[in-house]
Symmetry: C2
């Protein structure tokens, strides 16, 4: 069973090597079960059965069902995060639109390659399960990539920052960088003081993003972020039936057009 090789010299003992191997086999089996039965159908007994071991043996590797679930969630976030970072990093730093496109399609590709892990983290929450704080870091890797693009874009023409910050320009709700129609929000006209409420709402993100990025760009960033995951979720969860074509290439073409328009909304060059 345990093959003695010198190819992995950093493993101390055969026992540890075997342990790592079986642990990852358990995680793999868990991922496979996620596919057929969903998160709430994840069963330690079924995994044990699949690996040909007694159900009690799994407890040598995993403390409980919930711990396995947490592990799978973290892995999913990290896998998606790594895929996105990698694809985005391959693009020339100055090509903001290219970076945006790379990141978006990396997310979509990952989601369709791993639909159940996507559903696990971006679908309905597992009832009765509460995510431990360890998941926060991995969960924000995709967002981080997108935020960096926003920052680089703002630094490209830093004048926009002065126009956009709450201090210098309160109460006005710029509908979009790109709107020539010049609608001002009805709320802004009726109650100038309350119109800054959306800026206040952005505080948590605002506090971790440099001042070059105007509030309005943060708002736009969040909206495209929501659009990205909205499009992917609707498609993956079956809401595109009779809406977007199902012929080869249709879904991809629709998504590509979304990415293009999001880029325009973000004013990426």
């Amino acid at each position: 069973m345990t093959i003695m090789t010198a190819t992995e010299p950093n493993w101390r003992t055969a026992r540890e090597r075997a342990r790592a191997e079986i642990t990852s086999e358990i995680l793999d089996a868990g991922r496979r079960h996620l596919a057929t039965d969903g998160a709430s159908g994840l069963s330690l007994r079924a995994i044990a059965r699949e690996l040909g071991m007694a159900s009690s043996a799994v407890y040598r590797y995993v403390a409980s069902r919930d711990e396995l679930l947490t592990q799978l969630i973290m892995d999913a976030y990290n896998s998606l995060g790594a895929a996105t970072e990698e694809r985005e990093a391959a693009v020339d730093r100055a090509d903001l639109r290219g970076r945006w496109t790379a990141a978006c399609s990396a997310v979509r590709d990952w989601a369709f390659a791993n639909p159940n892990e996507y559903a696990l983290v971006y679908g309905s929450p597992v009832p009765g399960y509460v995510a431990p704080p360890d998941t926060v870091g991995p969960a924000s890797r995709v967002a981080n990539v997108l935020v960096l693009i926003l920052i680089d874009n703002a630094e490209r023409r830093p004048d926009a920052a002065v126009l956009g910050t709450a201090q210098t320009d309160p109460g006005v709700s710029p509908t979009s960088h790109a709107s020539p129609t010049g609608h001002s929000s009805p709320t802004a006209l009726a109650a100038p003081a309350a119109a800054a409420a959306w800026r206040t709402a952005l505080e948590p993100l605002r506090s971790v993003i440099p001042a070059v990025v105007p509030d309005s760009a943060i708002q736009d960033g969040l909206m495209t972020w929501a659009g990205l995951f909205g499009v992917i979720s609707l498609e993956l969860f079956g809401q595109f039936h009779n809406v977007v074509g199902e012929n080869p290439g249709d879904r991809e073409a629709f998504f590509a057009e979304c990415v293009t328009r999001w880029a325009a909304q973000l004013d990426l060059p």
Copy 2:
């Protein structure tokens, strides 16, 4: 138990009245169970227990667990659809922006009032469950409301249609009605023939929408539709932590700003 009143004269017998009453009690209990245990935790035995009847008695009202689930899904779609239609119908027909705002906030309000039913229909699909075709109609009620707004908006200035239809304007990807930056999509520059792919992808929706509405407006409509459900899902499923503020009014203010900007993207007056 059964109170004899003449207030519902259309009920033929006491038996039928009781039957309808208990059926709806079962559905209510099902909805309550959805809340605590999620769709995959929905249990006929638990419902029977809650109603104080033998587990086998539920089968007088419901053929199987899957049938109950289907019923709950249809009810959810209909409830959301009715809420949206009602709120939107209360707005002056000419006030397109008001109608859009009413529809959007109706969806959000309903989602937060019925988080589990929302998750049931817009969250991860229930593993092993396939929705019967009866659900298609109710499922599209929200979309219908939004589409009608798009149509009325296009009819407001029908010239846009000529500019936007595939026949007269193929290959060019207008990033937005409202974009003054004038980026043309890189795809369009590289391969004009393939650039119309996104138009082809819109065919299913295209075929049920009058020609006054240009392809580009359909694309924008789909993107805001995805943005709407994306924002609601991300918020409801807990992805706004450390992103959008959690003080009273923050989430609402953020959403209101989203609605305003979506309206601008759709070029609503």
